[in-house]
Symmetry: C2
Subunit: 95 residues, 2 copies
């Protein structure tokens, strides 16, 4: 099992646009094989921080996700509304 934390930094005033796009991405992704959980979270201290917290069975299904039609179509659209590059960490559970 692997966990992904993808921390996005949204341009001021563009959160709604990102949420609209992310909604479709989440809906489509949750249907994918090997997707354990996949949701978007908003930071309490900074409303412009929208973080995708994901859980996948293994690296292969994650790769398939990143090659999917909806990922390749929607993520670039979301990136238009970002202030800077996302901080993405891939994690494995240790405790």
């Amino acid at each position: 099992m692997i966990k992904i934390i993808a921390k996005n930094f949204v341009k001021q005033g563009k959160v709604e646009q990102v949420l609209v796009l992310a909604k479709e991405l989440v809906q489509e992704t949750l249907k994918e094989n090997g997707c354990i959980s996949y949701g978007m979270y908003q930071s309490e201290s900074d409303e412009n921080v929208l973080t995708m917290i994901e859980q996948w069975e293994n690296k292969d299904v994650l790769k398939a996700h990143m090659a999917s039609e909806h990922f390749k179509r929607i993520v670039p659209l979301m990136n238009e509304f970002m202030d800077k590059k996302a901080e993405m960490d891939i994690y494995k559970k240790v405790i």
Copy 2:
């Protein structure tokens, strides 16, 4: 429901010491009222990044956690092995 991502930056060569301490913290915390999930994860790109990914029913149980005997005893011990202040984000689910 709230989600916490607490990203820790461990001093080189001190990961094992942190894991020993974190093990007890995780065991005790999982017994706490309102704790939905609580686990430590290691970054694949940097073994010195150990992140606690937590899920709590609400702010009150999180406050009780941070006032608990095991939290107040163990976290300062863990901090001895850290390179810099942890990055902590409190999140609410939006999608």
